[in-house]
Symmetry: C2
Subunit: 284 residues, 2 copies
Amino acid sequence: MSPVSLHDPSHRETLWELEAAFDRGDMVTVFGACTVEYDGRAASSLGEGARLLVLKPDGSALVHTDEGRTPVNWQPPGSEHRAAVRDGRLRVRSSRTSPDETLDVRFTSVSHLASYPVTGGRGVDVVGSEADLKQRVVEEPSLVEDGFEPAATERETAAGPVDVFGTDADGNPLVVELKRRRVGPDAVGQLARYVGAVEREEPDGVAVRGVLVAPSITDRARDLLAEEGLGHVAVDPPDDAAGAADAPDAAESDGSGAAGASEGVGRGDGDAAATDGSGADERT
Amino acid sequence: MSPVSLHDPSHRETLWELEAAFDRGDMVTVFGACTVEYDGRAASSLGEGARLLVLKPDGSALVHTDEGRTPVNWQPPGSEHRAAVRDGRLRVRSSRTSPDETLDVRFTSVSHLASYPVTGGRGVDVVGSEADLKQRVVEEPSLVEDGFEPAATERETAAGPVDVFGTDADGNPLVVELKRRRVGPDAVGQLARYVGAVEREEPDGVAVRGVLVAPSITDRARDLLAEEGLGHVAVDPPDDAAGAADAPDAAESDGSGAAGASEGVGRGDGDAAATDGSGADERT
DNA sequence: TACTCAATTTCGCTC
DNA sequence: GAGCGAAGTTGAGTA
C-alpha cells in the first residue's frame, strides 16, 4: 500500500506517514497552513499562509504558493528530511551541509498529505539549445561569415572557453560566441573577454576578430559591440525547434566582414572542429 | 467542499475535478504515469514515467520527477490550463502566447489527485542579498577602501547600471561592483565593461578605477582582474545573515589603493548616495 | 512592453 | 569538490 493519502490528519498521523514515506523513498505532497524559515546561503522568513510542500526522496524540498513557477522557499537535493511535532505544530526540517543550510516548515494545520512512489523517467530530450546552434554553425560555417573555418569548439583561453574558434577568409583568428536568444550587454562583455584573452595569447600584432551569433541584440549591446570593434550575425532559430520567432531581425549581418580572397590559411591549432555530443541520452 | 482528493480516479472523474478546481482557483496536484511534450521557446519530449503534476491558478504548471529542485518540464505563469480525455488518456494542456508555448501532459493512469485553495502568503523576507551588501557599503564606504566616497548607486552608463559609483581618496572616479558570493570571470567582465563605459563618459585623461567587492574570487578571475588593472576587496558576509562562511579568504584587499591625501574632490554628478529601499514588504 | 541584472539561482560538464 | 557557463532559466525593478 504505497500510494497513501490523508485528510485533515492529526499531526501525529502526519508525522507517522511522513516517516514511513521517507523510509519508502516516496515523494510527498502536503497541503496546509504553515510558516517557513530558511537559513544558509542567505536567510529568509515567511509568515503563516496556505501552501504546498513537496518533499522528494533525493532530499529536495519545495514550498509553493498559488503563484509563480519558482518555489517561495526550497532546499536543494542532498538534504535530509526530518519531521517532528513541537509546540502543537508539525515541523518538517530539511537540512544539508556544504553549504550548511536548513529549511524549517512549521504547519499549524495539515489539510492533506499524499505520498507516491515516483521513480525514474527523468530523461528529457530538449531541442533548440545552444549546443544545437553550435552544431549548426560547425556544419555550416558560412552562417557566421563567408570563409569562416572552425578549428575548435570550447577552446580554452585565460578568460574561459570559446564557443567556436577558427579563422576568417584572411586566415586571421575569429572568436565566435553563440546565444540561442536575444542578447544584451553581458554577452558582449563575454565575447570581448574571450577576444582579449586570445589576443594576448597570439603572437603580437595579429588582429583577433569577434562575432556574436544570436537571433537579435539590444540597442545598448549593439553600441557596446561597435565600441569594442566586434560584430553581430543574426541567426534565426530553425522553425521545427522553436515554434515562435523571437524577433524578426532577419538576415542582418554587421560582422565587419573582411572581403574574401585568400582561401582560409588554416592555422590548425586546437583540436579538430567536432560537435561535442549534444545527444541527450535517456537515463531511466 | 473545496479541499478534494481522489484515489485511482477514472479519467472522467479526474477531468471533472480538474475543471472544478480550475473554476474554484484551487491549486492541484496529480500523481500518475504520463508523457510530457513541450513546444515553444525550445521543444522537448519526455517518455512515460511516474511523476507529479502541479497546476496553479495563476497558470503555472510544474512536472516533477523524484529528483532535482527544478521541474523536468513546466509552463510559466500566465498560461491557461485545459483538460480533456483523448485516446483513452487524460490530457492536461497548458499554453500561453508571447511567447507561444504549450505543455502537454498525457496521463495513462492517475493514481491520485488533490485540490486545495492556496491563496496569499507570498511575501518572503530575504536577508543577505546583494541589496543588503550595497547598503552596508554605502553606510560604511571604507569597506571598499579608505577615502572612498559613494556618489550614486545604480548609476546609469552606456554599459549598464553601476552598483556603486563614487570617488577615491584622490578624487578620481571609482566604480564598485558588488557580489554576494564568490566570483568568476563573468564578474570581472561586468566590472571592466562599466569601467570602460565610465572612462568614455569622463573628460579625457581621467583615470577610472574599478573594484570588485565579493567574499572571494577564483584564480582565473584574479588574473583577469590584474590584466585589466582592476582590484578586489574581500568582504565577508555578516554572521547573522549567512550562517556558513563561504571561504576564509579573510580581509584581503588588492585594490590598487592610491595613497591618501586630497580629501574627496566630490564630483557631484549622479543622484545622492542612498539606499534604494531593499525592505521587502509583505504582500498578502 | 522591453531592458538590465540578481538569484538561497539550478544544472551539467570538465578538470 | 571547484570552476565555468547555459538555462525553455525566473523574477524584480525601471524606463
